[in-house]
Structure formats: structure tokens, C-alpha cells
Symmetry: C2
Amino acid sequence: MARPGVVLALDIGGTTIKGSIFADGREVAGGHTAPTFSVSSRALDTVLAVLAKLAETARGLGLQPTAIGVGVPGLVDARRGVVVYAANLQWAHLPLAQLLETRFALPVSIDHDARAAARAEMALRSGAGDFVFVPIGTGISAAVVLGGQIIGGARGQAGELGHIPVVPGGEACPCGQFGCLEAYASGKGIRARYLAAGGRRARNAAEVAGLLGMDPVADRVWSDAVGALSTAVTTLTALLDPTDVILGGGLSAAGPLLLGPLRATVDDMLGWREPPTLALSRAGPRAGLLGAALLGAASGNPPELNPSTGAQ
Amino acid sequence: MARPGVVLALDIGGTTIKGSIFADGREVAGGHTAPTFSVSSRALDTVLAVLAKLAETARGLGLQPTAIGVGVPGLVDARRGVVVYAANLQWAHLPLAQLLETRFALPVSIDHDARAAARAEMALRSGAGDFVFVPIGTGISAAVVLGGQIIGGARGQAGELGHIPVVPGGEACPCGQFGCLEAYASGKGIRARYLAAGGRRARNAAEVAGLLGMDPVADRVWSDAVGALSTAVTTLTALLDPTDVILGGGLSAAGPLLLGPLRATVDDMLGWREPPTLALSRAGPRAGLLGAALLGAASGNPPELNPSTGAQ
């Protein structure tokens, strides 16, 4: 899928940072995952550490890295390689691409995590032309694909679905608004709301999902999440008329627990027009990583300039 | 602006239907406006009557019509020429283009009213590439323009901004949903909410605007409208990252009364990113009509096949 070369791919999430090595489009053994934040490190330190580890692993396998591809959750100006704002990472105006290029002496491509993941989804759905890909993890974002083109927006900041206000005057969000989708339906939001409502200890949204039907607090918080997502799906359908809305990210692992009630509510809300098909990501939880690899491969030095990559 | 020919242009609104004649891109004296509904006629009867009147006027001026262009508020499948659903007109699955072609023996192009109007706005703003045009009249819709392309969506049904839910469980909307933007911020919605809240008699939203600062009911209803619009503008900015959001339609005549508080609220909500520029339509209240003319001109028979049009 990717153009030849050895790409260090990074999928930065609010909870973990996943990294792996792709050689000539295939994943090489030796992926690496680290918690985004730890007692001793900021997110950027983790990024640098994971990349250093990947580069070392690659070289141990006799592979010389040719490019780095990174998916970042937040406002990303892909052209300039700058993370304009990423609430969950506490980054603002960070020239990430330049910083990594200097450190690793490799070409670096960064993009919004959902847009990176949408590259993987498009590669797996040939002919998919008008869809919205919605990864739900610690946060929520979206990649809008219209007429086969991934929409970046005027400043490369399209797709911030997590920060559309779905409950006026609702839960406070780190972005400064109230009632953002992310506060209700992201993994982080579901867990926080469950605990705040007096739920028993849950380490993550998956554990809240595991309590459905047995714990009324879990039921209520889940129902709020589905309601908020229904509003978001209805909104983007009314505005953009996609054929499909594809759910990805960690929360999509809830499968029918999420998709069933969401489909029922969206169909009900969109009775006045044909609703989009709701589906789960084909690329699955690794969409972001695969997308970062495709991103890196698209920017890497052409193989003819890198005889050492062994590209055919 | 339009290609040569004599176009009968129609801008169908929920309150009035405006029609005019454009010859070689310039408007010819002899426009005609009629109330969409009257005691004796349905919206379709009015459409036919206005077109017949325009054709007669054109011929009286020695001009032979070569095409018809129509902007319709609602879900429009422009390719098939079908109005899929238009709540304010009580139309569903109406093959309008075919019907008018048969009746008037002319090529007919129809499109969503906002997308038609956006053609006029683009013609007046050279270089405008990423903007959302939001006409606010009896209803509310939008034309999304990205990279200089007007976005139709997979089924030609993009741009239904009026039916994004901005207040969960809010006002009932004829579309079947609750809390649609249109129920709060359209001309029809503002008037209805003002009267329902015990306001004195107001014939339209402009009269409600005229009472601001003097009538607390008007103040509250207007503030709700601005709040609902702010949510909508914030939503489409987060999703699509346009440089400009352009307000048109009858309500945009309120000018600073609308734009001032809207700008303040949107800037506040979008503190986490650069807000779009909010501006009033350059094409003004005639954007829809001018857009319909451009639409008709784009579909009209090429002048070399119609020597009678006198096109050079």
C-alpha cells in the first residue's frame, strides 16, 4: 500500500503512543507502545523515546529508516508541520515536523490523526468517495472525505468533530467550550462522567460498557454518549451528505453495544432523508498507525535516491 | 457573468417566489414576485404562474427564452432534477425539472437554493475558495464551498444546515426532529417563537428585530436565535475550517443587530482556534435569483445552436 521505503510510523493518542516500522508498505516485527504521559515524561519526551527505540530496532533488523509519519490528535497544519493546538497533549504551536527532522535527520510528515487513519480506510475500501471517518479514543475527531479527497480545510484544521457543541451549556471541555461531543462520547469523557455520577471504579470506557444492563449509572452515561454521537452524525449528514459514517478508535471495539443504539437513534432523527450507512472501521484500532505509515511513505525520499532501502 | 442566452431565473422561497429574466448575463427589466402560497394556489401553481408570466414578459421584449434556472429550498438532487424533500413547500420526490421542461419546452436546471446563491457569491468574490454561505430566510440552509468547489454531497443533499439539531429535545421541527437550527434562527422560527412567548403582533422577523432593546420577549427570542446560530457556525468551523462564513437571505438585512452579537459569541466559543471571518452576502437578497440565472445559463443551449437569442 505504501510506496517503498522504511517508515517509522507513530500514532499519538491521548493515552498511548503507538509506533511501528513499515518496510516497503508491510509492517515489520518490532512495534512499540508507550503511555503518552508518565510521572517522568511529557508527551514530547515519549514521542522522542518511542521514535529512538523504533530507529534502533529498525537498524538492528538491517533496515535504514527513510521517513517518519506521525498522526496527531488536534489542530494540525500539515503543510507547515506544526501542531497548532492539541488539548489532550498540552501542545500549542509546536513545530513537530521540524523538531523531529532535526533530531532524526529524516523527512517527516505529520497530519491530523483522523486524516492519517482515513488514508488507511480509503486504501481498504476501494471506491469509497464520500464518507466521514470518526475515530473515538481518548478524544474524538473526524476525517471528511468528499469526492475521494480528504478535506483539510483552509488552514488544515478541519475535522474537529470532538469540539462541536452538542449540549448547550453542558459539560466543560478543556477547549473552553461547554457541551462538546468529546466530553460526552470519548473514552475519556465516558469514564469521567461515569465516575462523577457515582459509578464504581472503572479504568476506561470499555469497562463502563461492560457494566451495561447491570449498572444504571453506566446505562445512563452510555445513553448520553450515544445521544451525543447521534446528534453529531445527524449534523454531519445534514451538512455533508456522506454515504457512510465509519467509526474507529478504541471505543469502536464496543461494536454492537455502540452501533446498535446509535443506528436506531440516527435513523429516527434522519427520518426526513436517507440516513448514511453506519459501519465500523475496516482498518480497526491500527488504522492510525497504518495511516501514519502511508503518510510517511508519501513523503519519504523516492527509493531511487535511497539504494540502501532495498526497494525494488 | 452568465453565458449568453435568455434565462428565466426563479428563486423559490418559503414565503415568496422571485423571478426575473436575464439576457446575456444581465437582468432585464420585468422581474416578478408572488407569494408562495395563497388561498387559491399551491406552491407549484405559483411556480408555473410566475414562469408563464416571465416568458410572456420576455417575449413582449422581443427575447426568446433559452433556459430556466431554479433555486429550491430543501433536499435537491440536481443531477436528476428532483426535489427530494422541501418541508416549507410541502414537496416530496417532485420531478420539478422534467415537469417544467415539458411545460415550457426549455432546458431546466434546478439546485438547492443556497448552492445556487453561492454561485453568485463566488462570482462576486474572486478567489473565495473555502467558505460557507448561509442564507437565512423562511428557512436556513448552507452551501459549503471547499477548494473552490461547491459541495453537493453523495446524493446532492449536502448543506441542510437548518436541520442540524442545536438544542437537544428543543422545539419541534416539521422535519420530525427537535431543536433544529431553523426552529430558532430562521425568519419563520423567530416570528413563531416570539408570538408563542406572548410577544405582540409581528408580521416577520424584521419586525421582531425592530423591537430589540424595547421588548424583553423580542430580546430573549433574538438572543436564542443568535445562540443557535453561534452553535451552528462553531460546528461548521470545527468540521470544515472555512476562512469565511457568509450570511445571506432576508434576515441578513438585520446587519449589525445579527452580526455583532453573533461575532462576539462565536469568537468566545472558538477561543481555542482561529475563528472564521463573519460577513454579509455581497450579492445581497438577490443572491438566489442571480444564482438561479447563473445555473440556468450554465445549462442553457449553447448560443450557436440558438441563433434567435442574438448572442454574440
